[in-house]
Every structure is written in structure tokens, then in C-alpha cells.
């Protein structure tokens, strides 16, 4: 198994950050163990069956991929440096997603847990607010709506 922490520079930069397929949450979590880390926090942002009073059938995510990838890497790198994290990962999925599927996963590992929680929230907040990725919600009544508000906070 690849170990992120075995190489002098984190291999995280080589992991894809924008994916079309289901996010490999289990594999990412397996990568995130680190012998110096006492706390690992994993956040999974998942598709809810309701939003703003309407019943959601599914979602489609679109990204301006080249910039989105660059920005996600910059955000995780900034968090890694700011908190001295052992691991900082973020993967966002695009395309069609069904209810309960993960749209985004963030993993942070630190010697102590409070930093792992704090850094994890920092990453997801910045990714949601800054990175050029958009959701299009398709409702069970046949209508759809591009997201423009942050609905999941």
C-alpha cells in the first residue's frame, strides 16, 4: 500500500483531487494513518434527500477543473503548513451523484485531535466557498436549480 508519510515530500500532490467516479473513501482513509498522528478526522459531504424544502432526486456537480485542482492543492498545502499536519487530503467528485453518495471528502491527521478537527473544517470551508465547483440540484418534481448558496454549513 502507498504510504503518504514514507516519502520525504508528501505524495498527496499526486493523488487526484477532482474525480468522476465514486470517491474511494476507504482507500483514502487507509492512506491517512501516520505513526506520529494521534487524531485523524475524516469529513464526508454527502447528498441529502432534501434541500430548501424540496425533495432532491440527484445532483450534478460541474468544475472548472484545472483551477479547481490547483486551488484544492493550495488549500490543503496551506492547512498542512498552518497546523503542521501529518496528512491533509481533499477529493471532490463531479458528474452525477445519488443520495448518500460523497461529493467531497477531507482527511486531516495531526499529533493532537483538536488541530485535526480545526484544520479539517478550515479545508472544507475554503473548498466550498472558494473553489470553482458548482452543484445542480435535480428535484423529484422534475425541476432543477444551480446552487449559488452554501446549503450545507
Amino acid at each position: 500500500m502507498i504510504k503518504l508519510w514514507s516519502s520525504p515530500l508528501p505524495a498527496a500532490v499526486d493523488l487526484p483531487v477532482i474525480v468522476q467516479e465514486p470517491i474511494p473513501v476507504i482507500e483514502l482513509f487507509a492512506l491517512a494513518h501516520h505513526p506520529r498522528a494521534g487524531g485523524i478526522v475524516l469529513f464526508s459531504g454527502e447528498i441529502r434527500n432534501h434541500n430548501a424544502g424540496k425533495e432532491v432526486a440527484y445532483l450534478e456537480y460541474e468544475a472548472y477543473t484545472s483551477m479547481a485542482e490547483k486551488m484544492i492543492r493550495e488549500i490543503t498545502a496551506a492547512a498542512k503548513e498552518k497546523w503542521d499536519l501529518h496528512v491533509a487530503l481533499c477529493v471532490h467528485r463531479i458528474g452525477r451523484l445519488e443520495i448518500c453518495e460523497s461529493a467531497v471528502v477531507v482527511i486531516t491527521a495531526h499529533a493532537h485531535r483538536s488541530e485535526a478537527y480545526e484544520a479539517n473544517q478550515y479545508i472544507i470551508n475554503r473548498v466550498k466557498h472558494e473553489v470553482p465547483i458548482w452543484k445542480n440540484e435535480f428535484y423529484t418534481d422534475g425541476s432543477s436549480q444551480w446552487g449559488g448558496n452554501c446549503n450545507c454549513h
Binding site: 459531504g45 456537480y61 460541474e62 468544475a63 472548472y64 484545472s66 483551477m67 479547481a68 490547483k70 471532490h92 461529493a103 467531497v104 472544507i124 473548498v127 466550498k128 466557498h129 472558494e130 473553489v131 470553482p132 465547483i133 458548482w134 452543484k135 445542480n136 444551480w146 446552487g147 449559488g148 448558496n149 452554501c150 446549503n151 450545507c152
Partner: protein, 80 residues
């Protein structure tokens, strides 16, 4: 005459083609924004909230457009 390539995303695709060209007198991002509002006035409110980027770098209203610049217009993020 300067030609600027424009690419829009997400909700802006309800107002414009995803990719198109603007020829003529627009020389800054601010002027491009006004041109886009003139093309489709119903997009004005969304455009006010958008960010613009050239070569994968955000640019401000005063950015001077160069020949063949490709400008991407990015509505407020709604990922996650």
C-alpha cells in the same frame, strides 16, 4: 480588432453559450462584464457575483485584456 474568448460555467449556461467570442472594443474585465450584461440583461445580477479568471488566475475589473485572452466567468462556488 481585439478578439476575446469567453467560457462560462454552471448557472451562466442558462444565459449564454458555454463558449463564445467577443469582438470589438472591450479592453478590460469591467468592460467585458458590461458587454455580457448588454448581451443578456437578465444575467446582470449573477454576473455581479461572478469571479473572472485568465490563464487559471483570478483577475480584477481593471485587468487589461490581451488579444486571444480566454476569460472564464465563474459564478459563486457551490461545491461540497
Amino acid at each position: 480588432m481585439r478578439m476575446v474568448q469567453v467560457q462560462v460555467f454552471a448557472v451562466l449556461k442558462n444565459y449564454f453559450n458555454q463558449e463564445f467570442e467577443i469582438k470589438g472594443s472591450v479592453s478590460t474585465i469591467e468592460e467585458l462584464k458590461k458587454e455580457l450584461e448588454a448581451l443578456n440583461p437578465s444575467a446582470a445580477k449573477v454576473l455581479q457575483a461572478c469571479r473572472f479568471a485568465v490563464n487559471d488566475t483570478f483577475v480584477q475589473g481593471e485587468y487589461k485584456l490581451k488579444e486571444d485572452d480566454k476569460v472564464v466567468v465563474l459564478p459563486p462556488s457551490s461545491g461540497g
